[in-house]
């Protein structure tokens, strides 16, 4: 317990502007920037209103408090029933503020939602699942899960990524605060949003619409790669799964258990769609939708019983014996 507290507090201090921050006040993409500027406008207006009205309230409370030793303490104060001029003034002034704020807001709504899509924008289809993310790059023939790779967008040659979003089961919401606001993924409905990270790096987020038991561990990792890195990533991901003779035993176990009814390994008989695509699972940094680092110990533990990290995960405990477990873990570790 104590160590948990200290490590938590330590990362608190360190996370000011580190890569694990998810603060909406550290924007790194156009949508997040425009939201940041309108939010600063709203914050300053509301702060001024608070200071003025709160100050008047405080003044009235202090100035007009009942004083026991006052000469005419027992007497009622003069009764004032109202004033139409005053009512009018505190109706009109708020209306003016509202109109101003509304116009500024409408501009941001239109510029974000109706932004023209450049010809060389990247298309990615995002499908929310209980409790992981499926990413499909239809023009590139890539399918991956939980870790989204997109190119950095240079303002002079914008290469934004357009996400086409839906859900396979319940409602989810895609939220990477430093890149953009959130957009819901709803079954039977297609939503879109766009991202254009300005600097390379890892951007974190997570599902923001309650979607079931493990809503909390439906984490998002967006890797903004430089153009060269992104091109290299595409080439690697387009390869079929690595066939490695050393892991043939694990592959056999994999293909003769229920694994293949939910998971795909491109180029093999495993073509399930219910769980994440595992063709290049070893190239990912994390497993279980960003819950734990992708180490062989974690992988083994997850295959043994997913509830070790994510109780309520839809993947059943596979009840493999130790030997098979090691073999499958070794096989998956080869799928670079």
């Amino acid at each position: 317990m104590a160590s948990q507290i200290w490590s938590g507090l330590a990362s608190q201090v360190g996370s000011g502007l580190t890569s694990t921050s998810t603060s909406i006040f550290a924007p790194k993409g156009t949508p997040a920037h425009s939201i940041f500027s309108i939010s600063m406008l709203v914050l300053s207006i509301t702060t001024v209103i608070f200071l003025v009205v709160g100050g008047l309230l405080l003044y009235a409370l202090l100035r007009f408090r009942h004083r026991r030793n006052d000469a005419n303490a027992a007497q009622e104060p003069p009764q004032i029933y109202g004033s139409n001029q005053i009512e009018l003034s505190w109706t009109v002034i708020p209306i003016l503020i509202v109109v101003m704020l509304f116009l500024a807001t409408a501009r941001v709504i239109l510029s974000t939602q109706n932004a023209p899509k450049p010809a060389d924008a990247l298309d990615v289809t995002v499908i929310g699942h209980q409790f992981w993310w499926e990413y499909r790059y239809p023009k590139l023939g890539i399918v991956t899960a939980n870790e989204l790779h997109i190119p950095v967008s240079d303002p002079k040659h914008p290469t934004p990524t357009y996400l086409t979003m839906s859900s396979a089961d319940t409602d989810h919401s895609f939220w990477v605060p430093r890149l953009a606001g959130k957009t819901d993924l709803i079954p039977n409905r297609v939503n879109t949003m766009w991202l254009d990270p300005e600097t390379a790096g890892l951007y974190l987020g997570q599902c923001a619409q309650y979607c079931g038991t493990q809503h909390a561990k439906m984490l998002i990792r967006v890797y903004a790669d430089s153009q060269a890195d992104f091109a290299a990533w595409i080439v690697r991901q387009q390869q079929p799964a690595v066939e490695s003779s050393s892991a043939i035993e694990g592959q056999n176990v994999f293909q003769h258990t229920a694994c293949i009814s939910c998971h795909t390994v491109a180029g093999t008989i495993a073509t399930g769609r219910f769980g994440p695509d595992l063709t290049h699972v070893a190239s990912r940094d994390t497993i279980a939708s960003g819950s734990v680092p992708n180490t062989s110990a974690n992988l083994r533990s997850f295959i043994d019983n997913p509830a070790n990290f994510k109780p309520g995960s839809l993947m059943p405990a596979m009840h493999l014996n130790d030997h098979d477990l090691d073999a499958v873990t070794a096989y998956l570790a080869t799928l670079k």
Binding site: Q12, V42, L56, F64, G82, T91, T170, D171, A208
Partner: protein
């Protein structure tokens, strides 16, 4: 404060002690609006303690990252039960309870328009509350183990479909809300009819106390908001029991339709809860400032305006579902506009304080807390009305902090004020002022520790409804502070409960009019007799008791 000699004969009961069973029978079969009102309040207080305890468990779980205090399943049940209970089985009944108790007294009537419907509404609503908690026993049906609903208080489709929510817990949830809705509609119908048809002679609409006006608006709002929820619950039940497809996305049904139906109820519901809170403020602030309410017609107009505008803002809960720029712009505007009549109310309260002689009783202190906290809640509301800002903040802890600022900071604070103000009328004894002030300060500290700091993790990207969070996000310190505030709030609430029990037995005798107030309920004994008024009063102005106390300068000259 005017001093009254203790009126002992109004409280002392010389009748012989009755058997517990007789007393119980008396309460269960009563159709007296005062007893039903008290039962509503008592019932709500029990659920307040239960749902508060649920909140406490959640705060323990969230105080540090990757905590294992409760399992994800239990956590999801906790926030579902906490939200559902607080809205439907605390907020609604406690406000209906005060309305039931006060409205006939304030308009000079002897009972509600339909006393038996009144009892029916109470019992059906309380049965709903029992059903909701029965799910802890019967939620898994024949499998034996309990499983409370875990779909969230707004139960977005298709999470409520049989596929994603097997067992019966969601059925208990929907039935409970359906029953509570029927009770709410019944009581609202009763309140409107009472206000329109039962006023004493001279009590024209423009002479009614503002509390009565606000309950009128609130009850009308109940018809057009709780009914859609009832309709949606019927659809959900048809889906779950008869296999229809209203919200079945696999058969072409729409999840977004449920969102619309729910929020057509859900947002005006906030106003259903806040209007009675305004109502209490409208009675309490003038009396302790020793001044008539400033701008009565403007207050009425603003309330009616809020009622109407609140019907056109629901989709600001749906800025992130991809509604398109046009709809987002419209609902941004509608939501911002509602801040205008709300602002008028705050300014009028300010003007009522201005030039008065403010008595800082425990009740008034809670009312002052209400004013400041409602101001802040309104301002964060304006932030959330800005659709792009909402794309970041929606479903984050910022939203959770915002609506708790409304529900706790505004509504619960003014409710406490109402308890300190009307408890003497209801029981004949004053609550302890000293304990009341301790209650105020401790609860105030706890409230601000919890809900001020809860905004920050939201701004740092923490979504709501997560049972735990990653250690590297920097949310831990804020969550620790938030959780520590819960302890103060618990202590404050316990003090309040103790004060209520202690004062019921030992509190000083209140007399009919301890606050030197001006509305009709203070013209009868405390507690009022079964028939309320020996002679049905006649009124000439908005403040009949002011006229009586100041015959040289009556209100009727100015209206």
């Amino acid at each position: 404060m005017a001093t009254h000699a203790p009126v002992t004969d109004s409280v002392v009961n010389s009748a012989p002690r009755r058997l517990v069973l007789e007393v119980l029978h008396d309460w269960v079969t009563t159709v007296d609006h005062k007893k039903i009102g008290l039962m509503y309040i008592g019932y709500a207080l029990i659920f307040l303690v239960i749902a508060g305890f649920e909140a406490l468990l959640m705060r323990v779980q969230l105080s540090i990252p990757n905590n294992h205090f409760v399992s994800p399943q239990v956590f999801n049940q906790l926030f579902t039960m906490h939200g559902t209970t607080m809205v439907f089985f605390v907020g609604m009944p406690v406000l209906f309870g005060f309305g039931n108790y006060l409205i006939p007294l304030m308009i000079g009537a002897r009972d509600m328009a339909f006393p038996r419907l009144n009892a029916f509404s109470f019992w059906i609503a309380s049965f709903g509350g029992l059903l909701l908690y029965f799910s802890y026993l019967g939620g898994s049906g024949l499998y034996g183990a309990g499983s409370a609903p875990d779909v969230g208080w707004f139960a977005y489709a298709p999470l409520t479909a049989h596929v994603f929510s097997p067992g019966h817990s969601t059925d208990y949830w929907t039935l409970a809300i359906l029953l509570s809705g029927i009770g709410s509609i019944g009581t609202a119908l009763n309140i409107v009819t009472t206000i329109i048809c039962m006023r004493c002679p001279g009590m024209k609409l423009n002479r009614m106390p503002l509390l009565v006006w606000l309950y009128l608006v609130m009850s009308c709002l109940v018809f057009v908001t709780v009914s859609p929820l009832t309709a949606a619950q019927i659809m959900l039940m048809l889906d779950r029991y008869l296999g229809s497809h209203f919200f079945d996305t696999q058969a072409g049904g729409s999840a977004v339709l449920w969102m619309h139906f729910f929020w057509i109820f859900g947002h005006p519901e906030v106003y259903v809860l806040i209007l009675p809170s305004f109502a209490f403020a409208n009675e309490i602030i003038p009396v302790y400032s020793r001044k008539a309410i400033f701008g009565y017609p403007a207050m009425v107009a603003a309330s009616v305006g809020i009622g109407f505008i609140s019907l056109s803002v629901w989709a600001h809960h749906m800025f992130t579902v991809g509604m398109g720029a046009g709809a987002n712009t419209f609902f941004t505007l509608a939501t911002m506009i509602i801040s205008v009549p709300t602002g008028i109310k705050i300014f009028n309260w300010l003007a009522t304080l201005w030039g008065g002689k403010i008595h800082f009783t425990a009740s008034m202190m809670f009312a002052v807390g209400f004013l400041f906290q409602f101001l802040i809640a309104g301002l964060t509301g304006i932030m959330l009305s800005v659709a792009p800002f909402d794309w970041q903040l929606s479903a984050s802890y910022f939203v959770v902090a915002h609506f708790h600022y409304v529900l706790v900071g505004a509504i619960l604070f003014i409710l406490f004020a109402a308890f300190y103000y009307w408890y003497p009328k209801m029981t004949g004894r004053l609550l302890s002022e000293k304990l009341g002030k301790w209650h105020f300060w401790i609860f105030l500290i706890g409230f601000h520790l919890t809900f001020d700091f809860m905004h920050i993790p939201g701004l740092e990207g923490m979504p709501r409804r997560i049972y735990t969070y990653e250690a590297d996000r920097g949310w831990m310190m804020w969550n620790m502070i938030v959780s520590s505030g819960a302890i103060f709030q618990t202590i404050g609430t316990l003090l309040f409960v103790y004060n209520m029990v202690w004062s019921f037995i030992k509190g000083p005798i209140a007399g009919p009019d301890p606050w030197d107030a001006w509305t009709l309920e203070w013209s009868t004994t405390s507690p009022p007799p079964h028939y309320n008024f020996a002679i049905i009063p006649t009124v000439e102005s908005r403040r009949p008791l002011w006229d009586l106390k100041h015959p040289d300068d009556p209100d009727s000259h100015y209206e």
